[in-house]
Every structure is written in C-alpha cells, then in structure tokens.
C-alpha cells in the first residue's frame, strides 16, 4: 500500500533567543490511508511540532517530507498553501472556527477556498453536515454551539474537499470524556469509510481504542 505521507529523518530545532531547542530529533514515520495513527507523549515532547511539520505548516530544520510520493520539504511559502489546501484537513484543540460564520458557513468557507463552484457548495456542505450529524445546529454561530458540536463542525470542515490526510492536534482536550470519545470515533469512522490517513495527537489514554497504530514521543524522539 502507498504511503500517504512520509517523514524521513526529520529534525526540528527552534532558536529561542540564543538557546537552541531540539524539538524533534531524527524522526521517521509514515501514514497510510484508512489508518488512524495516534501520537502520544508527555507535554513538551514535540507532538505539536511534529504534527505541524506533517501538515506542511512548519518547515523542518532537516529531513525529507513526501506526500503522495512527492517531495514537499523543499517547497517555499509560495507553494505550500496549495499543498495544504489539496492534501490536508486540520482539526485543532481550540476549534479555530470563524465566530462570524454559522456552522454551515464555516464549512462553506473552506469549500470556497478550495475552489468549489457555487452550485455545488450548498449540496456539499449539507452532506458534510449530515456526516458529522449536525443538521439541527447547522445555522448556529460557534458561540451558540457546545464544545463537541464545535469540534464536529471542525471535522466537517477538515473533510471538505475530500483531502487525503486528516491531522488533529489534541481534538478532545477541550471536551468532556464522553464527547471526546464520540469525536474520536467520528474521526475513525471517516478514516475507514473514506480511506483517509488520520493522525491524532492526544494525551487521552482512551484514545488507544480508536488507534490502529500508536507512536510515543519523548524529548523529540520516537520511543520504541
């Protein structure tokens, strides 16, 4: 099976003033479609740093990143937004919804960004809303949604345009444990059903249940 995303010997050093922080130290890993990869590790171990590099939001100090067999680690700021738009869906701990847009409009925004035609945007957003079981709240503003509902909107947004890869950083950290579990199951369901590669960063021990594969980070390295 093809790897959706591959990290080869990735290192990230932050320069914090004059102090150098080695956040990720020679990490290699691969994501496969239809699979949920869980990234665990203590605070400060480099999980977010790793995920940002996987999502082409942060550039590694050294190493190679391949998406769909295409090397993207050498690309510049001119090309990377298009890569993110084409291949990724993101889910964040703090939702990052647009407060002035309703749930539906938040999804539509991304469909517009991805160049969907006006006629298809309505159908597409409706089907995404149904996928995350949010029909009753579709026209609510984020302000009026619960944490779990917000995260559902975010998942629908991440699924819009049918990207190959879904990356989620602590998607359940702001949710109670029952809602958190629902969200994780929703992510898993989409990975399996639509053949997506999903990576989830989580502290949550209950997250193992939805994972096909787990890696543990410690001090920027994968612990075997």
């Amino acid at each position: 099976m093809n790897n959706s995303l591959e990290l080869i010997n990735i290192t990230k050093r932050y320069l914090h003033g004059r102090i150098e922080v080695l956040a990720i130290d020679r990490v290699s890993l691969a994501m496969r479609s239809g699979e949920v990869l869980l990234i665990m590790g203590p605070s400060g171990s480099g999980k977010t740093t790793l995920l940002s590099m996987m999502g082409c939001i942060l550039k590694p100090t050294s190493g190679k990143i391949k998406i769909d067999e295409q090397v993207v680690s050498g690309m510049g700021e001119a090309e990377l937004p298009d890569i993110r738009k084409k291949y990724f869906g993101f889910v964040f701990q703090s939702f990052n919804l647009f407060p002035s847009l309703t749930a539906r409009e938040n999804i539509e925004l991304l469909l517009r960004l991805k160049g969907f035609r006006k006629e298809s945007i309505m159908d597409e957003s409706q089907s995404l809303i149904e996928k995350v079981e949010l029909s009753k709240r579709a026209d609510f503003l984020p302000h009026d949604l619960s944490g779990g509902e917000k995260q559902r909107v975010a998942i629908a947004r991440a699924l819009s345009g049918d990207p190959m890869i879904i990356l989620a950083d602590e998607p359940t950290a702001n949710l109670d444990s029952r809602t958190g579990k629902e969200i994780l199951l929703l992510l898993r369901k989409n990975a399996i059903e639509y053949g997506k590669a999903v990576a989830i960063v989580s502290h949550d021990p209950k997250a193992d249940a939805v994972a096909d594969r787990i890696i543990h980070l410690e001090d920027g390295r994968i612990k075997e």
């Binding site: 977010t48 995920l51 940002s52 999502g55 939001i57 942060l58 937004p81 298009d82 890569i83 993110r84 738009k85 084409k86 990724f88 993101f90 964040f92 701990q93 703090s94 990052n96 647009f98 407060p99 002035s100 847009l101 409009e105 925004l109 991304l110 517009r112 960004l113 991805k114 947004r157 950083d169 950290a173 702001n174």
Partner: protein
Amino acid sequence: MLWLAWKTLLFEKVRFFITIVGIAFSTILVLTQIGIYLGMMGNATSIIRNSDADIWITSKNIQNFDFANPMPEDRINKIRAIPDILWADRLILTWGFLKTEGGGQEQVQIIGFNPDTGVGAPWAMIYGRPSDVKGGRYMVIDKSSEHRLGALIPNSVWELNKKRFKLVGISGGIVSFTTSPIIFMSYEQAQNFTEGFLEPNDTSFILGKLKDKKNINKVINELKKTMKDNDIFTKNGFMLKTIKYWTIQTGIGMGFFLTAILGLIIGGAIVGQTIYSNTMQHLREFGTLKALGAKNEDVYQVILWQAAMNATAGYLIGSILIILLKEGIEKSGVPMYMNFMIILVLFIVILLICLLSAYFSIMKIKNIDPVMVFRS
C-alpha cells in the same frame, strides 16, 4: 473572500456603524469644503462665464474681476477694427450704496451692460427682462439679496447713491464673490452716476466675440501689441486669473484646501485604525485561513474588501447627506457647487485612502505564522 469580509464586518455591527459614521463625517467635511470653494469661485467668475464673449480686455495689471480700473471707452474702436472680430461691447463694474427700508445702507456691486445687445446682462431672470433696464433709472436686483435688502417688490423705487431707481427686474442666483448684492442697470446709467469713480466716457471692460474661435491666439497677440495699456485675456484666462487671485493671493483657497486635506486624513485614520484593530482581533482567524491553505493574497483580499466596504458605505451616506443638505446650505447664503463628477472623483480618492490605510494590517497578516493555530 468578499463574502467573508462582508460577514465579518456585519458581525460587529457597532464597530461597522462607528466606522461608517466617521467616514460619512469626513466625506461631508471634504465635500462641503470643495463645494463651497467651487461655489465661491463660481460666483467670483459667474459674469465672465455667462458672457458670450471670447476675449476680455481689462485695465492693466488687473487682479480679478471685482477690482477693475476704469479705462477710456473709445478703445473699443481698436477692437472693432480687427476683421476677425464679430462684435465688441463694453461692460461697467462699479460700486454704490443702496438705501434699505429701515434707513440703513448696503454696499452693492453694479454691473452696467448694453441692454440692446445684452452682453453682460443677467442670465437668470425671475421677473422682467434684462432689456427692461433700458432708457432710464431702472435696475435688476438678485433675489438672493433679499435677506440683506428686504423684500424685492417689482416696480418699487429704491435710492441708490442718492438717486432714485425703479426695480424693473429680479434675477435668480447671481451672487458676487464678496456677497455684496449685485445690481444690473444700463451702461449709460452706470457710467453717469458714480462720479469720482468712473469718469464720463470710461468703461471697466471691453468684451469681444470672434467670428471664428480658431483665430483667438492670433487676435490676442495682435491686441497685445496695439493695446499696451491693457491686459488681454481669453474668457477662460480671465476666469483663471480671478480664481488664482482669490485662491492663492488671498489664501482663501488655501484654507479650504487644508480643511479638505484634514478631512481626508481623518477619514483615512478612522478606517486605518478600525481595520487594524479588527485585524488584531481576528489574527487567529487569519492564521487559520493561512493554515488551511489560503495564500497571503487571499487574506489581504479580506482586509481590502473590508476597507472598501467601509469606505463605500460611509461615502454613500456622507454624499447623500450632502446632496440633501446642499439646498439648505445655499439658502443660508453660502454658495455651494456640486456635481456627479466631483462626487465620483472624491469617492475614488477616499477609496484609495482607505485601501492604503489597510497597509499596516496587511503587513501584520503577512507576518502571521500559521503555526499559531496549534497554540491555544
């Protein structure tokens, strides 16, 4: 992105409202300054503009229409002798005192024109005809002087420089730059009753019309050679001379100009400041947009659209208010000139200023690191 800009603006209605009010205020400020300036300049040159003449011959070193020195009227023959000239006529501008009802007096500007040809005659009559001033102490007064002179009743008799004149006509909207009431009368009357100011056989201006306007430069050069004691202007040249005098020499124009610029700066600052604080407040959303695959230019568009929407909404309100207020302002005696072109040009200026004022916001967005979306 237009859509997102619109949604975000409407989401914060109070801020949107305050911004619009600010821009509307600045629009009103700038448009009134421009309108009043143009209105005053229009008044200062209205008699020149409404005359049918191509050429104006004035006393030497004249500064503006209102400050004409007398010259011998028979110089008209030199002009009539030129084959390219279709007609030439004389026009007097002088000053007098008109007694008002209560026994007070007002200084008035007097225009003496030839009622047979109508050159320099009042062009907008409410009552009577310009030629009615012919053959005696008859005059036309402008309606706008009523609040200074009292009611203008047709055929009433007034005392002008101790002589009795009958009001035979009322013009509408002919106002001098100095706002002194304008009185029209026949050339002969104007020449005869202002002793000490105009000698008999003196005139203030000689106006000429060409058979063919193409020859204007040739005729003007010829006149400059033969009439060394006079200044020779084209119609537009004389208007420009008058406008320059009031604008630059007296500094009146500069005052309007500075206030107008101040209005533009206020407008720009208001938009710049709201757009910037709006940007700061929505940094996270803009970071999210970038993380999700929007290019910098996409995000700039949101900001620029917002600036444009603020500018357009504010300007629309401001200019509509000006159009509604214009009549009232004019009724109060302040001249104001406004047309579609001015409104359009100022819109483009204000729009550009608003777009420029988004510069700092754009710099801010350029430097957003989308990694921020992972931090809570």
